[in-house]
Symmetry: C2
């Protein structure tokens, strides 16, 4: 079992153990990273039960608490350099996004994140609606697709109309800042708490 430098590096980052100990741990455990972590901890060579991975990218975590304190949002937006992360435009984007999430309550980041069974359930409802509404069979499929598009625009953050300028989707808003700052920007994740909600 050849232990690569990359594997040793990853194990060091995760455990803080020395290079030789990491090499030994990996060859003893056949290169299984999780087992190597356990091995080092058993030997007392890693004290880091919950050391997190190194940050993969730059950016900013932003928050928004709606007045009254019944709705709160956390959002992570990534960019390529800390320089851009500190710019006023980037910080304003993060603030806008957090505020948008509070107002528009997206359920997912992008349509790829919507569970298959949720989509199937929606399609079924639209189909029954269209048929009961007396629509001819040949256009039912088109109606269902159209409603599904609208559904994605309702529940996916990146497809929602931006609350401060509904002519723009959130994705288009982000793209406009990308064009201005010349760096890739990715909305990585968000969390919305509503008092007593899920």
């Amino acid at each position: 079992m050849a232990v690569s430098a990359g594997m040793v590096k990853e194990l060091r980052e995760k455990t803080g153990a020395g290079m030789m100990d990491c090499k030994k741990a990996l060859s003893e455990t056949g290169g299984d990273l999780e087992k190597a972590i356990d091995y080092l901890r058993q030997k007392g060579l890693s004290d880091a039960a919950k050391r997190t991975g190194r940050t993969a990218s730059e950016g900013v975590i932003g928050s928004y608490i709606h007045p009254g304190g019944k709705i709160g949002v956390l959002v992570e937006v990534n960019c390529e350099s800390d320089f851009v992360a500190r710019t006023e435009e980037f910080q304003a984007l993060v603030k806008d996004l957090a505020m948008h999430v509070a107002a528009s309550n997206p359920l997912y980041l992008r349509r790829e994140d919507v569970p298959e069974d949720m989509i199937a359930r929606e399609k079924n409802i639209y189909e029954v609606q269209a048929k009961e509404g007396g629509k001819p069979e040949r256009i039912v499929e088109r109606i269902v697709q159209g409603k599904l598009e609208k559904f994605f625009q309702e529940i996916c953050l990146l497809e929602q109309p931006f609350v401060k300028d509904p002519d723009l989707s959130v994705n288009q808003l982000v793209s406009s800042v990308v064009a201005k700052l010349g760096e890739n920007i990715v909305v990585r994740r968000f969390q919305r708490f509503q008092l007593g909600g899920q």
Copy 2:
């Protein structure tokens, strides 16, 4: 199939449909709430694809962004009345809790939330450590239990030492505010974002 008033109420809250429509939907679907929601939507009697349940309790959502914007926290703390939620003491507690989560990085709210396999893995490590450390068999179990207690105190918010006064656990901090305000207070959930983290 008898349709109870409680079921009708819940369906109304979830769909915004009228009482008679909700009754009909429930009896048509044998009292299955999810099916009744679909039924109402198929009939066009509920426009609320994503209406959330009514708030179950009072309280406040608080946030904390660590200077630099690389760590952010959202926390929900519940109490019994909006009056208490607005008090200075309660708001200070929420702020302290958010700041504590940023600093101490708990992984779970309480020990009941820690997955069984994570506990088993820890126990195994402690056991091997104790045995390799030459501890006599008869006290290994006690050592493992002691270390497991420390592990819970490390990763569970309510058991962590409060960052601003480590003589107190977070649970004790909450209890002290309960005693002061005379209302039950529950830390309901938290979310911690670290830039580039999980």
